[in-house]
């Protein structure tokens, strides 16, 4: 364990590697990259032993009398802590002459010792602490101790790589990605951290290879392909169903007593939300109203008018159940391209605006007139809707710092993948995972206007909507009961519906993943000029 030709700044022991020239790629049995980044030289192979001896050192120091410790402090010989292994050996022999510096007879368990922070204080850094928290999330799975070690290390290296990306140190990030690929090979990639980890590694490597400024990181899918993925996501897990059923219940209650109703759907897709509403309106006491549906969707490039086709199918269904129905499609690639006059809202009708996971796409950099979301909320308010239904992902993926976004999305999507594990139907599950993977890729790889998945939590949306002139509507107990019942029909036991100040959230094991809220527009005060 002698000195090796490794260019590190020996004078400082703080975590700083940006000032050194990037080390050449090392075979795995050489120095560990992570500790090298922090200024320590330890061979990867020796990590286990060094960790054990550090643990042992701590035990010995704690047990030793203060007299012995102060002897060390007064000693004129200062050991260079860069060579961690020999440093700890020499300290151990100092404190306890019986302990030999070489070899460690005890077996494993070093993994947990290494990460629990019981070692010397200078080894810990914020990244480690984050990693401990994340491990708590994954601790529910049953894994072998060795796999546990690899999982912990995987998460740790992911965080470190993300931190390197944030700093702009792409070469270190590249090396860490190689590490990650190796780790992924050793962990079960069919479930748990292995699966979601592989998606994040993929996203990080895309970001490292093509920097967001240079070009397209994520290939756009055609509208048809998007619909397929969306449909399978709808089948495989209950999030979209929860959104649809809760929204329909709230809209139904808002339309009570109205004879002409108009629903504006911000993302029509295949219109899966609307059959249930049409049926509920058909059966409402007093008979169905005249229902107009305006569906907004991306323009189809292959000549098919998919919006119109969906409208025809919905009209057929409405005709079967005797509900007077009219459909209008508005093709727009972005929501802020839609102008209110396109919707042709008549003043006599009751309007409901339905936004299922669309508003967050408007939080990107705006034009000279402000962020797009404020403009859109403004014209929504002008329509004077009886209800604005907002369903959004319950997480903060819009923080300015990349590392914060990365960490938060790692927690969020891990939980979501956990819940998806319970689904066994194929090909629904695989395609649903692809759908989620695209979201992950967008959060991690893209920047600027390309990054559309800018999720924000319910508290932020509340602030935003109340600031834009909307008042909250409480989702009633019917919606809650319906959501609970819907969940008992799914196979997995882990889902939970909670009520949060009039809003409903659906989560997995008490981690909310999706939040539904209803709003009503406060009419704008009209400017009245009176002569006095």
């Amino acid at each position: 364990m002698g000195p090796t030709p490794y260019n590190s700044s020996n004078s400082s022991s703080s975590a700083c590697s940006s000032s050194t020239k990037p080390p050449p790629p090392q075979p795995p049995d050489q120095m560990d990259h992570l500790l090298a980044g922090a200024g320590y030289k330890v061979r990867s192979n020796d990590l286990t032993q060094v960790a054990e001896r550090l643990e042992h050192l701590e035990t010995v120091m704690v047990k030793s009398s203060p007299v012995d410790i102060s002897d060390i402090g007064n000693d004129a010989v200062y050991y260079n802590p860069t060579d961690l292994a020999s440093w700890v050996d020499s300290l151990l022999t100092e404190l306890n002459p019986n302990v030999s510096g070489s070899g460690s007879g005890s077996g494993s368990g070093s993994g947990s010792g290494f990460v629990s922070g019981s070692g010397p204080a200078y080894v810990s850094d914020p990244v480690m602490n984050d990693m401990n928290n994340v491990y708590g999330e994954f601790g529910q799975q049953v894994v072998t101790p060795i796999e546990e070690d690899v999982s912990i290390r995987l998460v740790h290296v992911l965080m470190t790589c993300a931190e390197a990306v944030q700093r702009g140190d792409m070469s270190l990030a590249g090396l860490l990605i190689d590490d990650l690929q190796g780790l992924l090979g050793r962990v079960n990639s069919g479930c748990g951290i292995g699966k979601v980890g592989s998606f994040f590694v993929d996203a990080l490597s895309r970001r490292v290879v093509n920097s967001p400024q240079n070009g397209v990181v994520q290939v756009d899918l055609s509208a048809y392909e998007n619909e397929i993925l969306y449909h399978h996501y709808y089948e495989a897990c209950p999030y979209l169903k929860f959104a649809h059923f809760t929204a329909n219940q709230a809209i139904l209650e808002a339309f009570d007593g109205q004879d002409c109703v108009h629903v504006i759907d911000f993302n029509l897709m295949q219109g899966l939300q609307w059959p249930a509403l049409i049926q509920a309106l058909a059966l409402r006491p007093g008979g169905p109203p005249l229902l107009r549906l305006t569906g907004i969707g991306p323009p189809s490039l292959d000549g098919r008018d998919s919006l119109r086709e969906i409208g025809l199918k919905l009209a057929e269904l409405a005709r079967s159940v005797n509900v007077r129905f009219a459909f209008r499609g508005v093709a727009a690639s972005r929501l802020d391209d839609v102008k209110p006059w396109m919707l042709q809202v008549s003043p006599k009708e009751a309007v409901a605006v339905n936004s299922i996971m669309q508003l967050h796409k408007l939080l990107g950099p705006g034009g000279p007139r402000g962020p797009p979301v404020d403009l859109v909320l403004d014209w929504i308010r002008d329509l004077n809707p009886r209800i604005l239904m907002v369903v959004e992902q319950e997480s903060n993926h819009n923080q300015p710092e990349f590392l914060d976004r990365f960490t938060e999305s790692l927690y969020y999507y891990s939980t979501m993948f956990d819940s998806l594990d319970a689904c066994t139907a194929q090909p629904e599950k695989t395609l649903a995972e692809l759908y989620i993977q695209r979201e992950i890729c967008n959060v991690v790889c893209c920047e600027g206007s390309a990054r559309v998945e800018r999720h924000e939590p319910l508290v932020r949306w509340r602030e935003r909507l109340t600031g834009a002139g909307f008042a909250p509507l409480h989702l009633g107990s019917n919606a809650f009961k319906q959501a609970r019942m819907l969940l008992t029909l799914f196979s997995a036991e882990g889902y939970s519906v909670e009520e949060n100040e009039g809003c409903l959230t659906l989560g997995w094991h008490s981690r909310p993943l999706i939040a539904a809220s209803a709003w009503q527009a406060i009419p704008k005060p009209s400017v009245v000029t009176t002569g006095r």
Partner: protein, 171 residues
């Protein structure tokens, strides 16, 4: 042979094993001559027995497939069923299909959750919310069939959105 148990609410049609003629019945009585009686009996069955009754013979099959029997089954314990439900359900595929595709899986899933074990044949009251949810799911299922094929709904197998209802609960 038909055995009618004392409480009149549950019977088994079992024409596989030969049974002795029970005393007290005139040897000329055949239920097939009294279809109104047969229908009254069938009205009181649970779903599984009604399905079994449809397998007895062609005549019974034709009678047991009558949608109004299944309507009785679906709304037996919900009082009163909402006005106007019948044309809606007929348009979406009929009560028999509603029962097979939605009501039965929903009930068995909810029952299994409540009891937590093997489901027994128990009489069960189900409430308005469960009815409405079943109707909504039925409508979504009808719509998905519209999306997939252009024509009339056919067959008894549900489309993909209700596959999750038919899968066993993994506890």
């Amino acid at each position: 042979m038909v055995h009618i148990l004392e409480n009149g609410e549950h019977f088994r049609a079992d024409n596989r094993e030969p049974e002795p003629e029970p005393e007290g019945f005139g040897s000329g009585f055949s239920i097939n001559d009294h279809l109104d009686l047969l229908i009254e009996v069938l009205k009181r069955l649970d779903g599984r027995s009604l399905g079994a009754a449809a397998c007895v013979c062609r005549q019974w099959c034709a009678i047991a497939r009558n949608d109004s029997l299944w309507e009785h089954l679906c709304f037996r314990h919900v009082s009163p069923p909402p006005v106007g439900v019948r044309p809606v359900v007929s348009a979406l595929g009929g009560y028999r299909r509603l029962y097979m595709v939605c009501v039965r899986p929903v009930l068995s899933r909810l029952k299994r959750r409540r009891l937590g074990g093997e489901s027994e044949v128990v009489r069960r009251v189900w409430n308005q919310h469960e009815v409405e949810l079943s109707l909504s799911l039925f409508c979504v299922e009808y719509y998905e069939r519209l999306l997939v094929g252009g024509g009339r709904v056919a067959g008894d197998s549900p489309s993909s959105s209700l596959k999750f209802l038919c899968m066993p609960v993994n506890v």
